[in-house]
């Protein structure tokens, strides 16, 4: 399967110049860019690991992209995403978030069902890779 979280997951994997152009767009909007990675891509895993602090003071796309490259080098077989945070009033949230690295093989998720009363089924999503300890999953 292909994990389709993030803004651009239905497109072919973004090339480096495309990633730089999106970072450029975020900086132009005065958003703080950050890099996060995980080997637990469950859709309810809200808190991916932060690859350092959000780059609040970095206004140069090349510098931000260097962080992306750095993270890719450190975690070549993890999911990595670029987030852009907008601190302006009324938003104060992420405005763009897209995956820039994914494991070579993505085994995906099992759906487990537990039948209850009144035909009510309780569902549980389990990551196939997640059964192994963190760091040995992909």
């Amino acid at each position: 399967m292909k994990l389709t979280q993030g803004t651009f997951s239905f497109l072919p994997d973004l090339r480096d110049e495309q990633i730089r152009a999106q970072i450029e767009y975020c900086l132009k909007n005065d958003w703080a860019v950050s890099v996060e990675y995980t080997d637990d891509p469950h859709p309810r895993n809200t808190y991916w690991e932060m690859f350092g602090q959000p780059l609040f003071d970095l206004k140069d796309a090349a510098g931000v992209f260097a962080e992306v490259q750095n993270c890719r080098k450190t975690f070549p077989n993890h999911y990595i995403k670029v987030n852009a945070f907008d601190a302006s009033y009324g938003w104060e949230t992420v405005r763009l978030s897209f995956i820039v690295n994914r494991p070579a093989s993505e085994p995906g998720f099992a759906l487990e069902r537990e039948e209850g009363k009144g035909r009510n089924v309780r569902y549980r999503l389990r990551s196939y890779a997640g059964v192994k300890p963190s760091g040995e999953r992909y």
Partner: protein, 488 residues
């Protein structure tokens, strides 16, 4: 007919309260010198007086009948602080280009309204006046609410920001589709449509407005099969998915029962129809707030009173009422689709729903500044006759905080429902990517779509099928003000 400013209030109390009939303007419902207070509610009506009826007297009559007046003088007014409670028409202007119509501005004191009640607000403002004989027609065009009044409402239970955080979806419009055919599918077949559309790339699927609990599919059956489909789609994509489970029913008790099952099954969103009424909407909104549920509103029935320009209520007013009442999603027009929608007018609705503060914007039909007092933002929904080939236009007109719903444009795809969903998702992501790169999507849109279709056969097929389908009809609900060129 000219607008005269002369109609005068009778100030001598003895004459004013003598039994008999006076003109509304004489009774104090017209005051050309009145300066609306920051705490007043203001309503703007479009009035079309009967032939021979003075526009000011007509405006005063609307002010009177929507506040304290009746047709004749009553002495019991003198037991009250009646001057405070009288609504005051304070400005009457001819409508540009429509000689028989006038804009009447009416101010209402804050004390005329119960806090946090749309039913009370509307019983006053639209309760009595729309059938008034001296008027040929009457339309409520816009309202301004003082922030003190706004703060008596809870507003949207979730709002755009929290909805996106909860769904983990940022930076692009959300995608949806209404299950078709609207009526007749069994629960099992219905769930199939949901599963295919969600696994193909949509974020949401949707019950239609008239899917409740009919002989061909009872509501429990629908909920159970739909949630199987939603969970399966989450497993094969790793994304959060949702289906608007319509809990509309005959009674509030039935609606709560359905909402409770939706919650128990883990649905992220439920849905209601506008026809359930304002009080029912506020009740289910409070339920949604208590239960962390996104609340989708389908504006079923609104066209009966919003579409014609001379009579009824503008949808911008309905949008304001629904933001106060507290819904998270509301259908607000597509501009390019099959349903009514002038571009500027629709953008006016979107701005009312999405901004923290509205400035006066006559070109988009917004007559008043409005401070939303930190009420959350409503996500507008664009639905009805739209397809992947229009993606650049949709993004251009509607921006990215919107749910784009392609029903026929997903389910009618020649290669199947999942392919239809994929075509829409790829078209959308390609267009957002290009826009962010600084490309001129209005001009280059078709080219951007064609390039994206080279690596996506479903998009190529969608473009082949629908590219030239447009709905170019003249809109009826258009702004009265056009931009004027100012010398540079």
């Amino acid at each position: 007919m000219a607008v005269s400013k002369s109609a005068g209030t009778i100030t001598d109390a003895k004459k004013r309260y003598a039994a008999g009939v006076l003109k509304y303007a004489q009774m104090g419902y017209w005051d050309a010198d009145y300066e609306p207070k920051d705490t007043d509610l203001i309503a703007l009506f479009r009035i079309t007086p009967q032939d021979g009826v003075d526009a000011i007297e007509a405006a005063a009559a609307v002010a009177g009948e929507s506040s304290t007046a009746t047709w004749t003088v009553v002495w019991t007014d003198r037991l009250t602080a009646c001057e405070k409670y009288r609504a005051k028409a304070y400005k009457v202007e001819p409508v540009p280009g429509s000689p028989d119509q006038y804009f009447a501005y009416i101010a209402y004191d804050l004390d005329l309204f119960e806090q946090g009640s749309i039913a009370n607000l509307t019983a006053s403002i639209i309760g009595n006046v729309f059938g008034f004989k001296p008027l040929k027609a009457l339309r409520l065009e816009d309202m301004r609410f003082p922030v003190a009044y706004v703060k008596t409402f809870d507003g949207p239970p979730t709002g755009i920001v929290v909805e996106r955080e909860r769904l983990d979806k940022f930076g692009r419009p959300l995608l949806g589709a209404t299950t078709k055919p609207k009526l007749g599918l069994s629960g099992k077949n219905y769930g199939r449509v949901v599963y295919e559309a969600l696994r193909g790339g949509l974020d949401f699927t949707k019950d239609d407005e008239n899917i409740n609990s009919q002989p061909f599919m009872h509501w429990r059956d629908r909920f159970l099969y739909v949630m199987e489909a939603v969970n399966r789609a989450q497993a094969v994509t790793g994304e959060v998915k949702g289906h608007y489970l319509n809990v509309t029913a005959a009674t509030m008790e039935d609606m709560y029962e359905r909402a409770e099952l939706a919650k128990e099954l883990g649905s992220v969103i439920i849905m209601i129809d506008l026809v359930i009424g304002y009080t029912a909407i506020q009740s289910i909104s409070k339920w949604a707030r208590r239960n962390d549920m996104i609340l989708h509103l389908h504006r079923a029935g609104h066209g009966t009173y919003t579409r014609q320009k001379t009579h009824g209520i503008s949808f911008r007013v309905i949008s304001k009422w629904m933001r106060l009442a507290g819904v998270d999603h509301i259908h607000a027009g597509t501009v390019v689709g099959k349903l009514e929608g002038d571009p500027n007018t629709v953008q006016g609705f979107y701005n009312v729903l999405r901004e923290t503060h509205n400035e006066v914007d006559l070109q988009r039909g917004i007559f008043f500044e409005q401070d939303w007092g930190s009420l959350r933002k409503v996500m507008p929904v664009a639905s009805g006759g739209i397809h992947a080939g229009q993606m650049h236009q949709l993004l251009h007109y509607l921006g990215e905080d919107v749910v784009l719903q392609f029903g026929g444009g997903t389910i009618g795809h020649p290669q199947g429902i999942a392919a239809g969903a994929t075509a829409n998702r790829v078209a959308l992501e390609a267009m957002v990517l290009a826009r962010n790169e600084g490309r001129d999507i209005w001009q280059e849109g078709p080219d951007i779509l064609d390039r994206a279709a080279r690596s996506c056969a479903p998009l190529a097929a969608a473009l082949d099928t629908w590219r030239d389908i447009t709905f170019n009809y003249t809109s009826t609900d258009t702004p009265d003000f056009v931009p004027t060129l100012t010398p540079a």
